[in-house]
């Protein structure tokens, strides 16, 4: 069976409900020919039969197993350390298009950080009538404990991941911003290592942007956050521990940065608000904490008193400026699917610029008119809880049963602020190795953005792929896989902006 034929002509089954356009294929154009940046890859794919491709796929899976690239799933009442699901065919984006996306992301995080800093200080944005006071008052992620704090550079969300999707007409949208503890970046780097072994001949011939420098940039960013009087700052990565689904990543990042991976129990805050870790040689000072624990677990003195993951006194130390925390506590206030709908306005307000990346039109159920539109058109919309992550609680209108729809109406009516709705986007697809052939599967993309004194965006990011046929859920906790993402330079050069 010729691989290319299958990849070009296999189409997803037509949906029976509402007629939808063909999804955009990331690698192939409407005639089934490879798009220019994918030509190098296809030259190799065409020379392989399906069995050879499967062999490469299996070799990649074996690499992942022996390299111990894992994520943890909670299932059957216990935590299982599972091999990271990876599809060997990369997703490819042309470099000049990527440069445009990168600019849009930097702009977006610039505005969001100004917004967070404003909310915890002067609240100009509310006074000027751009952002409604009642939305702020209702926000579950606003931390009153953070008011009046001025983190260095005015930046709160230092490490963020924005999820991008591409609709049928090729437009790239930001689907959501993750400003709390976004994960996945370690898999960007590991996927590349595995993909290089799978397609060495393509890497030899093409200019594919490297992804390795992320940890170096992250390390520089974290060091730059240290209190002014510290000369040789000690950076620690704070993990909830080995049972967390992203533990692999916490360990990976600490290792790549030469930082110390700590758990709450390793840290102690002294009476003069300084943070120390317990070492063989006694207490050693910590200056910067890259925390991978949610706000509410950070400090039992301030937030959940029963939390065993956190460090009593950590908020004190942070507010006293004795330790930097990334992301800053409270940064999640802008990581909310309701706030999301204001991002284009925030960009205009803080930066006086037009957004470089499109927002998906979003209906906010807290407004009567928008809510009644949502309730009247539920079958045509995706309904999302405003404060959940991981793909949980999402209802896709044209795939839901009558019973599910009725339950959704009830939930929205009961707690309008908890829900937003968006049109059903036709997520783009990319050719993926399936059981018997290469078939198109839906993908999204999570680039990671570092914001400090300067900004940095990963070259590409984590492409997540929904492995079951026609599925739109890409989360690894729910059957999603991943792909390497290539930014391919066709000669225009990168970094042109």
């Amino acid at each position: 069976m010729n691989l290319l034929t299958v990849a070009r002509y296999a189409r997803p089954a037509a949906r029976s409900v509402s007629p939808v356009p063909e999804p955009w294929n990331e690698l192939l154009d409407e005639h089934g020919s490879p798009r220019p940046p994918a030509e190098g890859l296809y030259a190799v794919l065409e020379s392989l039969d399906f069995d050879e491709l499967v062999t490469r796929q299996e070799a990649a899976a074996a690499d992942i197993l022996t390299m111990g690239i894992t994520f943890t799933v909670y299932s059957d009442g216990r935590n299982i350390d599972r091999a990271w699901p990876f599809d060997v065919i990369p997703r490819i984006i042309e470099a000049t298009e990527w440069a445009r996306i990168e600019r849009g992301l930097v702009q977006r995080l610039d505005a969001l950080n100004r917004f967070i800093d404003d909310l915890y200080n002067e609240q100009r944005v509310v006074a000027d009538g751009v952002f409604p006071a009642e939305v702020l008052a209702d926000s579950t992620n606003f931390r009153a404990e953070c008011r009046g704090v001025h983190p260095k550079f005015g930046v709160w969300a230092h490490i963020s991941g924005s999820d991008l999707v591409r609709d049928a007409d090729g437009t790239v949208y930001v689907l959501e911003d993750n400003l709390r503890v976004p994960s996945g970046v370690s898999y960007v780097i590991e996927n590349r290592a595995v993909c290089k072994r799978a397609f060495p001949e393509v890497f030899a011939r093409q200019s594919i942007a490297p992804v390795d420098s992320y940890t170096e940039e992250l390390s520089k960013l974290l060091v730059s956050l240290a209190p002014e009087d510290v000369t040789d700052p000690c950076v620690a990565v704070l993990t909830p521990g080995m049972f967390n689904s992203a533990y692999f990543e916490h360990s990976f990042l600490a290792q790549r940065m030469g930082a110390t991976l700590v758990e709450g129990g390793d840290l102690v805050v002294s009476g003069d608000d300084r943070v120390f870790m317990r070492t063989l040689d006694g207490l050693a000072p910590v200056d910067v904490i890259y925390r991978r624990i949610d706000d509410l677990f950070l400090d039992p003195e301030v937030f959940k008193p029963e939390s065993l993951l956190g460090v009593p006194g950590l908020m004190r130390a942070w507010k006293a400026g004795k330790v930097a925390i990334a992301n800053a506590p409270g940064a999640g206030v802008a990581d909310d699917k309701v706030v999301y709908s204001w991002v284009p306005d925030l960009i205009r307000y803080y930066l006086g610029e037009e957004p470089g990346l499109a927002n998906v039109p979003t209906y906010r159920c807290l407004y009567d008119d928008e809510r009644s539109f949502v309730l009247d058109n539920l079958r045509e919309l995706v309904l999302k809880p405003a404060n959940e992550s991981g793909g949980y609680g999402i209802l896709i209108g044209n795939r839901a049963s009558d019973k599910e729809l009725a339950a959704a109406v009830e939930a929205v009516t009961a707690n309008p602020r908890d829900w937003v709705a968006q049109p059903i986007l036709q997520l783009s697809v990319a050719p993926t190795v399936c059981e018997n052939a290469v078939e198109p599967r839906h993908v999204d993309l999570r680039p990671f953005i570092l914001t400090g004194e300067t900004s940095y965006v990963t070259a590409g990011g984590l492409t997540r792929v929904a492995l079951p046929k026609d599925s739109l859920i890409v989360n690894s906790s729910q059957g999603g896989g991943s792909k390497d993402t290539w930014i391919v330079d066709l000669g225009a050069g990168w970094g042109t902006y």
């Binding site: 197993l65 022996t66 390299m67 111990g68 350390d81 000690c234 080995m242 533990y247 360990s251 990976f252 600490a254 290792q255 930082a259 110390t260 991976l261 700590v262 758990e263 129990g265 390793d266 870790m277 317990r278 070492t279 063989l280 040689d281 006694g282 050693a284």
Partner: protein, 322 residues
């Protein structure tokens, strides 16, 4: 700078891997020895359970009188290699070692972690074939070989800092413990059989040399014993060699030298050094006790207790989260 928690996990990763290797060596040596004994010689598979200190669990599981019901070899081997409910089995030890190292991946080198992860994957797949003698030999070789390989990888790729010292300490203390166990159970049993009042019992005496070879092979001391002693294999000399040789890396005295050398690399080890002195004293006492079955058994118990107190001192000084 090393976190106490990380130090603790590296120490235990080392101990568990050493225990897996040592158990594999004991099972292998026993299998080789049994193959040389006539079929009517009293088999002693059950004694291996005592060597690894799992007698209570084994008896609870299979009962004292159950010895005759199933072939003891298959049952003991399954218990020592594959039984995941036995925390001292090879599969449990490799799993525990890997879990400890998995949580210190930012400290140990990637190559070392991958080798251990690889062994864990292998053990999980292959362990059920341990009942078949030929497959068992491959399995034991792999466990022993990989354990040595991981030591080599860490020795040649890690900075020899506090983290590596914790690895050395865990290895040495566990290894010393196993040498005393082999002597306390196996050697003591051979000596008891060899008492003058039983000297006329030719059926037992005839195989003494094979048994002593088994003791040496359990701790991989056969070749080095011969090189060092350059004489026949005699019980007293074997015991002295495994306890007192200060350059044979599985002899207790040499292991104490290794423990002292490792401790000198750590901040302020004086309270722990006191613990090593105690073990040293127990070692001298064991020599003074003379080579007699019951005395040797008792002396080895005392040594194991001293090693356990040393372990407690290491925890109190370095590993406990204050």
């Amino acid at each position: 700078m090393l976190l106490s928690r990380v130090a603790n996990r590296i120490y235990w990763a080392a101990r568990y891997l050493e225990r897996a290797e040592d158990t594999a060596r004991v099972v292998r040596a026993h299998g080789e020895m049994i193959a040389d004994l006539p079929t009517d010689a009293p088999e002693s598979w059950r004694s291996l359970v005592a060597v690894v200190g799992s007698s209570a669990l084994y008896d609870e599981r299979f009962g004292d009188g159950a010895e005759g019901k199933a072939p003891p070899e298959a049952r003991v081997v399954e218990f020592l290699l594959a039984d995941s409910t036995n925390v001292a089995s090879v599969v449990s030890c490799v799993t525990a070692s890997r879990e400890n190292l998995r949580t210190t991946r930012e400290t140990v080198t990637r190559d070392g972690w991958q080798a251990l992860n690889d062994l864990h994957l292998y053990v999980g797949v292959e362990v059920d074939r341990g009942g078949d003698r030929r497959a068992r030999e491959r399995f034991l070789s792999r466990v022993i070989g990989d354990s040595r390989r991981i030591d080599g990888i860490l020795a040649t790729t890690m900075i020899h800092d506090e983290a590596y010292v914790m690895w050395r300490l865990g290895r040495a203390i566990e290894r010393a413990d196993m040498t005393t166990r082999v002597l306390g159970v196996r050697a003591a049993a051979v000596l008891l059989d060899a008492r003058p009042e039983r000297a006329g019992d030719g059926a037992t005496r005839r195989y003494d040399e094979l048994e002593w070879m088994g003791v040496l092979k359990s701790v991989w001391g056969m070749q080095m014993y011969q090189r060092s002693v350059s004489g026949p294999i005699e019980g007293e000399r074997v015991v002295r060699f495994l306890l007192e040789h200060d350059r044979f890396p599985r002899a207790v005295r040499a292991l104490l030298r290794e423990v002292r050398s490792a401790l000198r690399e750590l901040p302020d080890p004086s309270s722990v050094i006191d613990g090593v002195d105690e073990v040293d004293a127990a070692l001298r006492d064991s020599t003074a006790a003379g080579v007699d079955g019951a005395a040797l058994d008792g002396a080895m118990d005392a040594l194991q207790e001293a090693l356990a107190r040393l372990d407690q001192r290491i925890h109190a000084r370095y590993l406990r989260l204050g």
